[in-house]
């Protein structure tokens, strides 16, 4: 069993095929978002244009077919190998918003608890600091050496603004994704 299979099997909430069909039909959610992947004719322009596919197992053509055929696409590791460079979307002869579709499928997966631990960490940082990449001591020193203020002119320097961002994130229920 490789790491990804292990990760999938360890998930806290196991979702049966039936439940996904009922609550999280990928096709229907894509349709709602105005993205029609059924237009795909499997020409392969996307996978031929994909820079990630040269170095990973990502095959966009196959991924789209997977999304058309089965809810299992939510557990497809390749979903997370897209850098969102948009080459496939730009060149698709059927004008399918492929990257937007991948982002949408990822978000359905994330809401089902299928999300990498490293990505949960990025969410935690935003929730705590209002920055996905917060300041650290070494960079405070670099800032001072350059003649900049120790903290940048962002939520890092303004606790009220940070609290406002935290309140907004709370209203949006972002933490639900990592609390699953």
């Amino acid at each position: 069993m490789d790491d990804w299979e292990q990760f999938i099997s360890n998930r806290k909430y196991y979702i049966t095929e039936k439940m996904i069909m009922k609550e999280n039909n990928v096709q229907e959610q894509l349709k709602e978002a105005g993205i029609d992947i059924l237009k795909c004719m499997q020409c392969g322009m996307c996978s031929g244009s994909c820079p990630s596919g040269r170095h990973t197992s990502l095959n966009v053509r196959r991924l789209i077919r997977h999304a058309i055929r089965s809810q299992d696409v939510l557990e497809d590791e390749e979903l997370w190998m897209c850098t969102t460079c948009y080459n496939c979307q730009e060149r698709c002869p059927r004008c399918i918003d492929i990257v937007d579709a991948i982002l949408k499928i990822r978000s359905i997966a994330a809401h089902k608890g299928i999300i990498l631990p490293e990505h949960k960490q990025v969410i935690k940082l935003l929730l705590e600091y209002g920055h996905a990449v917060p300041i650290d001591e070494a960079n405070m020193k670099k800032r001072e050496e350059l003649g900049l203020e120790r903290f940048p002119e962002t939520v890092h320097k303004d606790i009220e603004a940070l609290n406002e961002v935290k309140k907004l994130l709370n209203v949006c229920k972002l933490a639900d994704i990592i609390d699953q």
Partner: protein
Amino acid sequence: MTPLTLFLGCVIPNRYPGIEMATKLCLAKLDIDCTDLPEASCCPAPGVFRSFDSPTWLAVAGRNLTLGEDMQRDILTICNGCFGSLADANHLLKENGELRISTNAYLSEIDRQFKGTIDVRHIAEFLYSDVGTEKIKEAVEKPLGLRVAVHYGCHLIKPSRDRGLGSFERPRFFDELVEATGSISIEHPDKMECCGAGGGMRSGLKERSLAMAEHKLSKIKEAGVDCIVNACPFCHMQLDAGQQEIEKVFGKDYNIPVLHYSQLLGLALGFPPDMLGIHMNVVQNRDFMEKLKLSIEDN
């Protein structure tokens, strides 16, 4: 010229503050009206947060946009990720009534409302369209004569239907900006290819993300350049800090200096490398620093 306010994002102020300093020095020297944007947060990063929860991504981006609206200034970004998030969010919220209503419902909880009164700019397209390469050439004090591998990064130009910056296959505007500093843009295979950092790849699948960067670096090395110039701190981090990581993972040492355009322009406008934080990059190439020193002395 519409007044601007500078959106810092995360990576520039918190990992590469030299780029922040370089940008502020260049904007002041070119007499561009641009203030700080206090209270801003993460844009939030498009590849990750848009992947996890689109309504949250849109709400936080919407809040950042209202900060610019309050100041009645267009937002100037210096990062392709921030540009991608804020320009896309601004476009969606201006064009899509339903999304605007649902996002404003979230924003009303913090007493804010998206109005749709400003634009979002990226420093590269702003300098090209609103300042112009001729004016930049006039302001250059030290023509650099560097051989440069230009790296556009993806979200500066794509999705092209929303960006409106011309060809995504073979753009020229960033090359022209680099050439305005007296440098030469060196063509190389896979010049337009992604650095591999986006979409949560750098944070989630590091080794595979580095394999993409390594491919780019190998092509750039073959072309023979003095440095890489980018328009995005996340590409910058991937190509700069990534070189150290690539050495550990793949045992390959490239030692190619990496500059953000603000730093390249800063050099050409006469600022010393230390003021621009070039000495704070992970890659420290002695030959390159020597060359910069000589070019400063020659002028």
